[in-house]
Symmetry: C2
Subunit: 276 residues, 2 copies
Amino acid sequence: MTDPRSPDPARLSLNTATIRKQWGLGEAIAGCARHGIRAIAPWRDQLQALGVSEAVSRIRDQGLRVSSLCRGGFFTADDALNLDDNRLAVDEAAAIGAECLVLVVGGLVEGTRDLADARRRVADGIAALGDHARAQAVRLAIEPLHPMYAADRGCINTLRQALDLCERLGPDVGVAIDTYHVWWDPELEVQIARAGAAGRILAYHVCDWLQPTEDLLADRGMPGDGVIELRRLRGMVEAAGYDGCCEIEIFSEKNWWRRDPDEVLRVCVERYASAV
Amino acid sequence: MTDPRSPDPARLSLNTATIRKQWGLGEAIAGCARHGIRAIAPWRDQLQALGVSEAVSRIRDQGLRVSSLCRGGFFTADDALNLDDNRLAVDEAAAIGAECLVLVVGGLVEGTRDLADARRRVADGIAALGDHARAQAVRLAIEPLHPMYAADRGCINTLRQALDLCERLGPDVGVAIDTYHVWWDPELEVQIARAGAAGRILAYHVCDWLQPTEDLLADRGMPGDGVIELRRLRGMVEAAGYDGCCEIEIFSEKNWWRRDPDEVLRVCVERYASAV
Protein backbone atom coordinates (compact mmCIF):
# COMPACT_ATOMS: atom_id res chain seq x y z
CA MET A 1 0.00 0.00 0.00
CA THR A 2 1.30 3.44 -0.87
CA ASP A 3 1.84 5.91 1.94
CA PRO A 4 -0.71 8.64 1.16
CA ARG A 5 1.92 11.22 1.98
CA SER A 6 4.30 9.80 -0.60
CA PRO A 7 4.92 11.87 -3.70
CA ASP A 8 3.74 10.95 -7.16
CA PRO A 9 6.24 8.40 -8.54
CA ALA A 10 5.97 9.94 -11.98
CA ARG A 11 7.44 13.17 -10.67
CA LEU A 12 10.76 11.78 -9.48
CA SER A 13 13.58 13.16 -11.59
CA LEU A 14 17.20 12.02 -11.52
CA ASN A 15 19.57 14.94 -11.47
CA THR A 16 22.58 13.36 -13.09
CA ALA A 17 24.97 14.96 -10.59
CA THR A 18 23.91 12.16 -8.27
CA ILE A 19 25.79 9.54 -10.30
CA ARG A 20 28.11 11.79 -12.27
CA LYS A 21 31.30 10.06 -11.19
CA GLN A 22 30.06 6.68 -12.35
CA TRP A 23 27.95 7.33 -15.44
CA GLY A 24 27.80 9.52 -18.48
CA LEU A 25 24.46 10.85 -19.69
CA GLY A 26 23.75 7.92 -21.97
CA GLU A 27 24.10 5.47 -19.10
CA ALA A 28 22.01 7.72 -16.87
CA ILE A 29 19.18 7.80 -19.43
CA ALA A 30 19.23 4.02 -19.70
CA GLY A 31 19.43 3.74 -15.90
CA CYS A 32 16.34 5.91 -15.45
CA ALA A 33 14.44 3.68 -17.84
CA ARG A 34 15.58 0.53 -15.99
CA HIS A 35 14.53 1.91 -12.60
CA GLY A 36 11.21 3.39 -13.67
CA ILE A 37 12.37 6.98 -13.21
CA ARG A 38 10.35 9.08 -15.64
CA ALA A 39 12.31 12.35 -15.65
CA ILE A 40 15.92 13.45 -15.82
CA ALA A 41 17.94 16.63 -15.28
CA PRO A 42 21.23 16.50 -17.18
CA TRP A 43 24.34 18.55 -16.52
CA ARG A 44 25.78 20.38 -19.46
CA ASP A 45 29.22 18.80 -19.48
CA GLN A 46 27.62 15.39 -19.77
CA LEU A 47 25.17 16.61 -22.37
CA GLN A 48 28.01 17.98 -24.47
CA ALA A 49 30.02 14.79 -24.04
CA LEU A 50 27.17 12.69 -25.40
CA GLY A 51 26.18 15.26 -28.01
CA VAL A 52 22.95 17.21 -27.92
CA SER A 53 21.22 15.48 -30.82
CA GLU A 54 22.16 12.03 -29.57
CA ALA A 55 20.88 12.98 -26.10
CA VAL A 56 17.63 14.30 -27.56
CA SER A 57 17.15 11.06 -29.44
CA ARG A 58 17.82 8.83 -26.42
CA ILE A 59 15.68 10.91 -24.07
CA ARG A 60 12.84 10.76 -26.59
CA ASP A 61 13.29 7.01 -27.05
CA GLN A 62 12.81 6.49 -23.34
CA GLY A 63 9.97 9.00 -23.11
CA LEU A 64 11.70 10.92 -20.33
CA ARG A 65 10.61 14.31 -19.15
CA VAL A 66 13.53 16.80 -18.77
CA SER A 67 12.89 18.67 -15.56
CA SER A 68 15.81 21.07 -15.96
CA LEU A 69 19.21 21.60 -17.49
CA CYS A 70 22.03 22.23 -15.01
CA ARG A 71 23.43 24.78 -15.33
CA GLY A 72 23.96 28.29 -16.66
CA GLY A 73 25.16 31.23 -14.61
CA PHE A 74 28.59 32.17 -13.27
CA PHE A 75 27.92 35.69 -14.49
CA THR A 76 30.84 36.94 -12.42
CA ALA A 77 33.36 34.73 -14.25
CA ASP A 78 34.36 37.40 -16.78
CA ASP A 79 33.62 40.98 -17.72
CA ALA A 80 31.28 39.85 -20.49
CA LEU A 81 28.99 38.29 -17.86
CA ASN A 82 29.80 34.86 -19.27
CA LEU A 83 27.10 35.53 -21.83
CA ASP A 84 28.44 33.47 -24.73
CA ASP A 85 28.38 30.34 -22.66
CA ASN A 86 25.03 31.25 -21.13
CA ARG A 87 23.44 31.72 -24.54
CA LEU A 88 24.73 28.30 -25.49
CA ALA A 89 23.21 26.90 -22.30
CA VAL A 90 19.85 28.39 -23.30
CA ASP A 91 20.16 26.78 -26.74
CA GLU A 92 20.95 23.43 -25.18
CA ALA A 93 18.03 23.72 -22.77
CA ALA A 94 15.71 24.46 -25.68
CA ALA A 95 17.11 21.59 -27.73
CA ILE A 96 16.49 18.99 -25.05
CA GLY A 97 13.11 20.43 -24.05
CA ALA A 98 14.21 21.26 -20.50
CA GLU A 99 11.48 22.79 -18.38
CA CYS A 100 13.99 25.37 -17.16
CA LEU A 101 17.65 26.30 -17.20
CA VAL A 102 19.02 26.34 -13.66
CA LEU A 103 21.29 29.29 -12.95
CA VAL A 104 24.09 28.98 -10.41
CA VAL A 105 24.88 32.64 -10.55
CA GLY A 106 28.53 32.83 -9.47
CA GLY A 107 30.28 34.34 -6.47
CA LEU A 108 32.72 37.17 -6.02
CA VAL A 109 34.74 38.35 -8.99
CA GLU A 110 38.06 36.59 -8.52
CA GLY A 111 40.48 38.57 -6.43
CA THR A 112 37.84 40.97 -5.13
CA ARG A 113 35.72 41.26 -2.00
CA ASP A 114 32.90 43.35 -3.44
CA LEU A 115 29.77 41.30 -2.84
CA ALA A 116 27.44 44.13 -3.86
CA ASP A 117 29.25 44.40 -7.20
CA ALA A 118 28.97 40.64 -7.72
CA ARG A 119 25.26 40.83 -7.08
CA ARG A 120 24.87 43.71 -9.54
CA ARG A 121 26.72 41.72 -12.21
CA VAL A 122 24.47 38.76 -11.64
CA ALA A 123 21.38 40.91 -12.04
CA ASP A 124 22.83 42.43 -15.21
CA GLY A 125 23.75 39.01 -16.54
CA ILE A 126 20.32 37.49 -16.07
CA ALA A 127 18.73 40.58 -17.58
CA ALA A 128 21.07 40.39 -20.56
CA LEU A 129 20.23 36.74 -21.10
CA GLY A 130 16.51 37.38 -20.93
CA ASP A 131 15.79 38.15 -24.60
CA HIS A 132 17.59 35.08 -25.83
CA ALA A 133 15.82 32.88 -23.27
CA ARG A 134 12.42 34.29 -24.20
CA ALA A 135 13.12 33.80 -27.88
CA GLN A 136 13.88 30.15 -27.21
CA ALA A 137 11.03 29.77 -24.71
CA VAL A 138 13.47 28.70 -22.01
CA ARG A 139 12.64 29.75 -18.48
CA LEU A 140 15.55 30.82 -16.30
CA ALA A 141 15.54 29.43 -12.76
CA ILE A 142 17.70 31.30 -10.27
CA GLU A 143 18.92 28.85 -7.65
CA PRO A 144 19.62 30.51 -4.32
CA LEU A 145 22.68 28.77 -2.92
CA HIS A 146 23.51 28.10 0.69
CA PRO A 147 25.33 31.10 2.21
CA MET A 148 28.49 29.01 2.56
CA TYR A 149 28.86 29.32 -1.24
CA ALA A 150 28.50 33.10 -1.38
CA ALA A 151 32.16 33.67 -2.15
CA ASP A 152 32.80 31.08 -4.82
CA ARG A 153 29.62 29.71 -6.38
CA GLY A 154 26.57 31.84 -5.86
CA CYS A 155 25.98 35.24 -4.31
CA ILE A 156 22.20 34.86 -4.35
CA ASN A 157 21.75 33.19 -0.98
CA THR A 158 18.13 33.33 0.10
CA LEU A 159 14.81 32.75 -1.56
CA ARG A 160 13.75 36.27 -0.58
CA GLN A 161 16.75 37.72 -2.37
CA ALA A 162 16.12 35.58 -5.46
CA LEU A 163 12.46 36.59 -5.57
CA ASP A 164 13.29 40.27 -5.12
CA LEU A 165 15.55 39.90 -8.14
CA CYS A 166 12.88 38.05 -10.10
CA GLU A 167 10.47 40.92 -9.50
CA ARG A 168 12.97 43.35 -11.00
CA LEU A 169 13.56 41.07 -13.99
CA GLY A 170 10.00 40.35 -15.02
CA PRO A 171 7.58 37.45 -15.25
CA ASP A 172 9.73 35.01 -17.24
CA VAL A 173 12.29 34.20 -14.58
CA GLY A 174 11.78 32.09 -11.50
CA VAL A 175 13.61 30.05 -8.92
CA ALA A 176 14.95 26.56 -8.41
CA ILE A 177 14.41 25.60 -4.79
CA ASP A 178 16.92 23.09 -3.42
CA THR A 179 16.23 21.80 0.07
CA TYR A 180 19.95 21.62 0.83
CA HIS A 181 20.41 25.32 0.20
CA VAL A 182 17.31 26.73 1.85
CA TRP A 183 16.22 24.40 4.68
CA TRP A 184 17.70 26.60 7.45
CA ASP A 185 15.91 29.78 6.33
CA PRO A 186 13.58 31.19 9.01
CA GLU A 187 11.54 32.79 6.22
CA LEU A 188 11.26 29.63 4.16
CA GLU A 189 7.55 28.99 4.35
CA VAL A 190 6.51 32.56 3.59
CA GLN A 191 8.99 32.90 0.74
CA ILE A 192 7.93 29.60 -0.82
CA ALA A 193 4.33 30.79 -0.68
CA ARG A 194 5.39 34.06 -2.28
CA ALA A 195 7.25 32.19 -5.04
CA GLY A 196 4.28 29.97 -5.71
CA ALA A 197 1.78 32.81 -5.77
CA ALA A 198 3.89 34.48 -8.45
CA GLY A 199 4.20 31.28 -10.47
CA ARG A 200 7.96 31.33 -10.03
CA ILE A 201 8.79 27.87 -8.68
CA LEU A 202 10.40 26.33 -11.74
CA ALA A 203 12.27 23.43 -10.16
CA TYR A 204 12.47 21.59 -6.85
CA HIS A 205 15.67 19.79 -5.86
CA VAL A 206 15.85 17.38 -2.97
CA CYS A 207 18.98 16.60 -0.99
CA ASP A 208 19.57 16.11 2.73
CA TRP A 209 21.90 17.91 5.17
CA LEU A 210 24.18 15.42 6.90
CA GLN A 211 25.10 15.91 10.50
CA PRO A 212 28.06 16.22 10.71
CA THR A 213 28.87 17.62 7.27
CA GLU A 214 32.54 17.14 6.54
CA ASP A 215 33.01 18.97 3.28
CA LEU A 216 31.42 22.21 2.13
CA LEU A 217 30.72 21.03 -1.40
CA ALA A 218 30.46 17.29 -1.74
CA ASP A 219 29.21 15.76 1.51
CA ARG A 220 25.51 15.95 0.83
CA GLY A 221 23.00 13.37 1.91
CA MET A 222 20.49 10.98 0.36
CA PRO A 223 16.93 11.95 1.42
CA GLY A 224 16.30 10.42 4.84
CA ASP A 225 19.94 10.32 5.92
CA GLY A 226 20.07 13.88 7.21
CA VAL A 227 18.19 16.41 9.30
CA ILE A 228 15.96 18.22 6.83
CA GLU A 229 12.20 17.84 7.21
CA LEU A 230 11.87 16.92 3.55
CA ARG A 231 8.24 15.87 3.71
CA ARG A 232 7.32 19.17 5.32
CA LEU A 233 9.24 21.15 2.71
CA ARG A 234 7.59 19.27 -0.15
CA GLY A 235 4.29 20.09 1.51
CA MET A 236 5.22 23.76 1.39
CA VAL A 237 6.04 23.79 -2.32
CA GLU A 238 2.94 21.78 -3.16
CA ALA A 239 0.78 24.06 -1.03
CA ALA A 240 2.28 26.91 -3.04
CA GLY A 241 0.95 25.30 -6.20
CA TYR A 242 4.06 23.59 -7.52
CA ASP A 243 3.27 20.41 -9.41
CA GLY A 244 6.51 19.82 -11.27
CA CYS A 245 9.21 17.22 -10.68
CA CYS A 246 11.29 16.55 -7.58
CA GLU A 247 14.88 16.17 -8.66
CA ILE A 248 17.16 14.18 -6.41
CA GLU A 249 20.53 15.88 -6.66
CA ILE A 250 23.35 14.72 -4.39
CA PHE A 251 27.05 15.62 -4.42
CA SER A 252 28.71 12.90 -2.37
CA GLU A 253 32.41 12.32 -2.82
CA LYS A 254 32.74 9.77 -0.06
CA ASN A 255 29.56 7.78 -0.40
CA TRP A 256 27.11 7.88 -3.29
CA TRP A 257 29.68 8.75 -5.94
CA ARG A 258 31.56 5.60 -4.96
CA ARG A 259 28.66 3.17 -5.10
CA ASP A 260 27.27 1.02 -7.87
CA PRO A 261 25.06 3.51 -9.73
CA ASP A 262 22.24 0.99 -10.06
CA GLU A 263 22.22 0.73 -6.27
CA VAL A 264 22.15 4.54 -6.06
CA LEU A 265 19.12 4.72 -8.34
CA ARG A 266 17.36 1.95 -6.42
CA VAL A 267 17.89 3.86 -3.18
CA CYS A 268 16.74 7.11 -4.81
CA VAL A 269 13.46 5.46 -5.81
CA GLU A 270 12.98 4.00 -2.31
CA ARG A 271 13.82 7.18 -0.47
CA TYR A 272 11.72 9.29 -2.78
CA ALA A 273 8.73 7.24 -1.62
CA SER A 274 9.68 7.04 2.06
CA ALA A 275 11.45 10.29 2.88
CA VAL A 276 10.66 12.99 0.31
CA MET B 1 50.89 57.97 10.54
CA THR B 2 47.64 56.28 11.44
CA ASP B 3 45.27 55.45 8.64
CA PRO B 4 42.24 57.62 9.40
CA ARG B 5 40.00 54.70 8.59
CA SER B 6 41.71 52.51 11.19
CA PRO B 7 39.72 51.65 14.27
CA ASP B 8 40.46 52.98 17.72
CA PRO B 9 43.32 50.85 19.13
CA ALA B 10 41.72 50.93 22.58
CA ARG B 11 38.71 49.04 21.24
CA LEU B 12 40.55 45.93 20.08
CA SER B 13 39.54 42.96 22.21
CA LEU B 14 41.14 39.54 22.17
CA ASN B 15 38.56 36.80 22.13
CA THR B 16 40.51 34.02 23.77
CA ALA B 17 39.24 31.43 21.28
CA THR B 18 41.90 32.83 18.96
CA ILE B 19 44.74 31.32 21.01
CA ARG B 20 42.80 28.74 22.99
CA LYS B 21 44.93 25.79 21.94
CA GLN B 22 48.13 27.47 23.11
CA TRP B 23 47.18 29.50 26.18
CA GLY B 24 44.96 29.38 29.21
CA LEU B 25 43.21 32.52 30.40
CA GLY B 26 46.02 33.63 32.69
CA GLU B 27 48.51 33.58 29.82
CA ALA B 28 46.00 35.34 27.56
CA ILE B 29 45.55 38.16 30.10
CA ALA B 30 49.30 38.61 30.39
CA GLY B 31 49.62 38.41 26.61
CA CYS B 32 47.09 41.19 26.11
CA ALA B 33 49.03 43.38 28.50
CA ARG B 34 52.30 42.65 26.66
CA HIS B 35 50.82 43.49 23.28
CA GLY B 36 48.91 46.58 24.31
CA ILE B 37 45.51 44.98 23.84
CA ARG B 38 43.13 46.73 26.24
CA ALA B 39 40.17 44.35 26.26
CA ILE B 40 39.54 40.64 26.44
CA ALA B 41 36.65 38.21 25.92
CA PRO B 42 37.20 34.97 27.84
CA TRP B 43 35.58 31.62 27.18
CA ARG B 44 33.93 29.96 30.13
CA ASP B 45 35.96 26.76 30.18
CA GLN B 46 39.13 28.79 30.47
CA LEU B 47 37.59 31.09 33.05
CA GLN B 48 36.60 28.10 35.16
CA ALA B 49 40.03 26.52 34.76
CA LEU B 50 41.72 29.65 36.10
CA GLY B 51 39.04 30.29 38.70
CA VAL B 52 36.68 33.25 38.58
CA SER B 53 38.15 35.21 41.48
CA GLU B 54 41.71 34.71 40.24
CA ALA B 55 40.61 35.82 36.78
CA VAL B 56 38.87 38.89 38.20
CA SER B 57 42.01 39.80 40.08
CA ARG B 58 44.32 39.41 37.09
CA ILE B 59 42.00 41.24 34.71
CA ARG B 60 41.77 44.09 37.21
CA ASP B 61 45.53 44.14 37.69
CA GLN B 62 45.99 44.67 33.96
CA GLY B 63 43.15 47.14 33.72
CA LEU B 64 41.48 45.17 30.93
CA ARG B 65 37.97 45.78 29.74
CA VAL B 66 35.89 42.59 29.37
CA SER B 67 33.97 42.96 26.14
CA SER B 68 31.98 39.74 26.55
CA LEU B 69 31.89 36.32 28.10
CA CYS B 70 31.64 33.41 25.64
CA ARG B 71 29.28 31.70 25.98
CA GLY B 72 25.88 30.72 27.28
CA GLY B 73 23.14 29.13 25.24
CA PHE B 74 22.63 25.61 23.89
CA PHE B 75 19.06 25.82 25.12
CA THR B 76 18.22 22.73 23.05
CA ALA B 77 20.72 20.53 24.91
CA ASP B 78 18.19 19.21 27.43
CA ASP B 79 14.54 19.48 28.34
CA ALA B 80 15.35 21.96 31.11
CA LEU B 81 16.60 24.41 28.47
CA ASN B 82 20.10 24.06 29.89
CA LEU B 83 19.08 26.69 32.44
CA ASP B 84 21.28 25.64 35.36
CA ASP B 85 24.39 26.10 33.31
CA ASN B 86 23.06 29.28 31.75
CA ARG B 87 22.38 30.84 35.14
CA LEU B 88 25.94 30.01 36.12
CA ALA B 89 27.11 31.68 32.92
CA VAL B 90 25.21 34.82 33.89
CA ASP B 91 26.83 34.75 37.34
CA GLU B 92 30.25 34.39 35.79
CA ALA B 93 29.60 37.23 33.36
CA ALA B 94 28.54 39.45 36.26
CA ALA B 95 31.57 38.46 38.33
CA ILE B 96 34.07 39.41 35.65
CA GLY B 97 32.20 42.55 34.63
CA ALA B 98 31.55 41.33 31.09
CA GLU B 99 29.69 43.83 28.95
CA CYS B 100 27.47 40.99 27.73
CA LEU B 101 27.02 37.24 27.78
CA VAL B 102 27.18 35.86 24.25
CA LEU B 103 24.55 33.21 23.54
CA VAL B 104 25.23 30.45 21.04
CA VAL B 105 21.70 29.20 21.15
CA GLY B 106 21.99 25.55 20.10
CA GLY B 107 20.75 23.60 17.10
CA LEU B 108 18.26 20.80 16.63
CA VAL B 109 17.34 18.67 19.62
CA GLU B 110 19.54 15.61 19.17
CA GLY B 111 17.89 12.93 17.10
CA THR B 112 15.17 15.23 15.76
CA ARG B 113 14.62 17.27 12.61
CA ASP B 114 12.17 19.80 14.03
CA LEU B 115 13.78 23.17 13.42
CA ALA B 116 10.68 25.12 14.42
CA ASP B 117 10.63 23.30 17.76
CA ALA B 118 14.32 24.07 18.33
CA ARG B 119 13.65 27.72 17.65
CA ARG B 120 10.73 27.76 20.09
CA ARG B 121 12.92 26.20 22.78
CA VAL B 122 15.58 28.81 22.21
CA ALA B 123 13.05 31.60 22.59
CA ASP B 124 11.71 29.98 25.75
CA GLY B 125 15.21 29.51 27.13
CA ILE B 126 16.28 33.11 26.63
CA ALA B 127 12.99 34.31 28.12
CA ALA B 128 13.47 32.03 31.12
CA LEU B 129 16.99 33.33 31.65
CA GLY B 130 15.86 36.94 31.49
CA ASP B 131 14.99 37.58 35.13
CA HIS B 132 18.27 36.20 36.39
CA ALA B 133 20.21 38.23 33.83
CA ARG B 134 18.36 41.42 34.72
CA ALA B 135 18.94 40.82 38.42
CA GLN B 136 22.65 40.53 37.76
CA ALA B 137 22.66 43.39 35.24
CA VAL B 138 24.06 41.09 32.56
CA ARG B 139 22.95 41.76 29.02
CA LEU B 140 22.28 38.73 26.86
CA ALA B 141 23.67 38.89 23.33
CA ILE B 142 22.10 36.48 20.84
CA GLU B 143 24.70 35.58 18.23
CA PRO B 144 23.16 34.65 14.90
CA LEU B 145 25.29 31.85 13.53
CA HIS B 146 26.09 31.08 9.92
CA PRO B 147 23.36 28.88 8.41
CA MET B 148 25.84 26.03 8.08
CA TYR B 149 25.57 25.64 11.87
CA ALA B 150 21.76 25.52 12.00
CA ALA B 151 21.67 21.80 12.79
CA ASP B 152 24.30 21.52 15.48
CA ARG B 153 25.24 24.85 17.03
CA GLY B 154 22.74 27.60 16.49
CA CYS B 155 19.29 27.73 14.90
CA ILE B 156 19.19 31.54 14.92
CA ASN B 157 20.80 32.19 11.57
CA THR B 158 20.20 35.74 10.46
CA LEU B 159 20.33 39.11 12.10
CA ARG B 160 16.72 39.70 11.10
CA GLN B 161 15.66 36.54 12.91
CA ALA B 162 17.67 37.46 16.01
CA LEU B 163 16.19 40.96 16.09
CA ASP B 164 12.65 39.66 15.62
CA LEU B 165 13.30 37.48 18.65
CA CYS B 166 14.77 40.39 20.62
CA GLU B 167 11.62 42.39 19.99
CA ARG B 168 9.53 39.61 21.48
CA LEU B 169 11.85 39.33 24.49
CA GLY B 170 12.09 42.97 25.50
CA PRO B 171 14.63 45.74 25.74
CA ASP B 172 17.33 43.95 27.74
CA VAL B 173 18.49 41.50 25.10
CA GLY B 174 20.54 42.27 22.04
CA VAL B 175 22.82 40.71 19.47
CA ALA B 176 26.45 39.83 18.98
CA ILE B 177 27.35 40.47 15.36
CA ASP B 178 30.17 38.30 14.02
CA THR B 179 31.38 39.14 10.54
CA TYR B 180 32.04 35.46 9.81
CA HIS B 181 28.43 34.52 10.41
CA VAL B 182 26.64 37.41 8.73
CA TRP B 183 28.82 38.77 5.92
CA TRP B 184 26.87 37.02 3.15
CA ASP B 185 23.47 38.37 4.24
CA PRO B 186 21.77 40.48 1.54
CA GLU B 187 19.89 42.32 4.31
CA LEU B 188 22.98 43.00 6.39
CA GLU B 189 23.12 46.77 6.16
CA VAL B 190 19.45 47.34 6.90
CA GLN B 191 19.42 44.85 9.77
CA ILE B 192 22.55 46.35 11.34
CA ALA B 193 20.91 49.75 11.16
CA ARG B 194 17.80 48.29 12.76
CA ALA B 195 19.87 46.71 15.54
CA GLY B 196 21.69 49.94 16.21
CA ALA B 197 18.54 52.05 16.25
CA ALA B 198 17.15 49.75 18.93
CA GLY B 199 20.36 49.87 20.96
CA ARG B 200 20.79 46.15 20.54
CA ILE B 201 24.34 45.77 19.21
CA LEU B 202 26.07 44.40 22.28
CA ALA B 203 29.19 42.90 20.72
CA TYR B 204 31.06 42.92 17.44
CA HIS B 205 33.26 39.99 16.47
CA VAL B 206 35.69 40.10 13.60
CA CYS B 207 36.89 37.08 11.63
CA ASP B 208 37.47 36.55 7.92
CA TRP B 209 36.01 34.00 5.49
CA LEU B 210 38.79 32.06 3.78
CA GLN B 211 38.45 31.06 0.18
CA PRO B 212 38.52 28.08 -0.01
CA THR B 213 37.21 27.11 3.44
CA GLU B 214 38.18 23.52 4.18
CA ASP B 215 36.40 22.85 7.44
CA LEU B 216 32.97 24.00 8.56
CA LEU B 217 34.02 24.87 12.10
CA ALA B 218 37.69 25.63 12.45
CA ASP B 219 39.07 27.04 9.21
CA ARG B 220 38.40 30.69 9.86
CA GLY B 221 40.64 33.52 8.77
CA MET B 222 42.65 36.32 10.31
CA PRO B 223 41.25 39.70 9.23
CA GLY B 224 42.69 40.51 5.83
CA ASP B 225 43.27 36.91 4.76
CA GLY B 226 39.76 36.31 3.47
CA VAL B 227 37.03 37.82 1.33
CA ILE B 228 34.93 39.83 3.79
CA GLU B 229 34.81 43.60 3.39
CA LEU B 230 35.66 44.07 7.05
CA ARG B 231 36.22 47.81 6.86
CA ARG B 232 32.85 48.27 5.25
CA LEU B 233 31.13 46.13 7.86
CA ARG B 234 32.76 48.03 10.70
CA GLY B 235 31.53 51.19 9.04
CA MET B 236 28.00 49.78 9.14
CA VAL B 237 28.06 48.99 12.85
CA GLU B 238 29.64 52.32 13.69
CA ALA B 239 27.12 54.17 11.54
CA ALA B 240 24.47 52.32 13.54
CA GLY B 241 25.87 53.85 16.70
CA TYR B 242 27.97 51.00 18.03
CA ASP B 243 31.01 52.24 19.93
CA GLY B 244 32.02 49.08 21.81
CA CYS B 245 34.93 46.75 21.25
CA CYS B 246 35.90 44.77 18.17
CA GLU B 247 36.73 41.25 19.28
CA ILE B 248 39.02 39.25 17.04
CA GLU B 249 37.78 35.67 17.31
CA ILE B 250 39.31 33.02 15.06
CA PHE B 251 38.90 29.25 15.11
CA SER B 252 41.83 27.93 13.09
CA GLU B 253 42.88 24.35 13.58
CA LYS B 254 45.45 24.32 10.82
CA ASN B 255 47.00 27.74 11.15
CA TRP B 256 46.59 30.18 14.03
CA TRP B 257 46.05 27.53 16.70
CA ARG B 258 49.44 26.06 15.74
CA ARG B 259 51.45 29.25 15.86
CA ASP B 260 53.39 30.94 18.62
CA PRO B 261 50.63 32.82 20.45
CA ASP B 262 52.75 35.95 20.79
CA GLU B 263 53.03 35.97 17.01
CA VAL B 264 49.24 35.55 16.77
CA LEU B 265 48.65 38.55 19.02
CA ARG B 266 51.17 40.63 17.11
CA VAL B 267 49.37 39.84 13.85
CA CYS B 268 45.98 40.57 15.47
CA VAL B 269 47.19 44.04 16.46
CA GLU B 270 48.59 44.70 12.98
CA ARG B 271 45.57 43.42 11.12
CA TYR B 272 43.19 45.25 13.41
CA ALA B 273 44.82 48.46 12.24
CA SER B 274 45.19 47.55 8.58
CA ALA B 275 42.19 45.35 7.75
CA VAL B 276 39.39 45.81 10.30
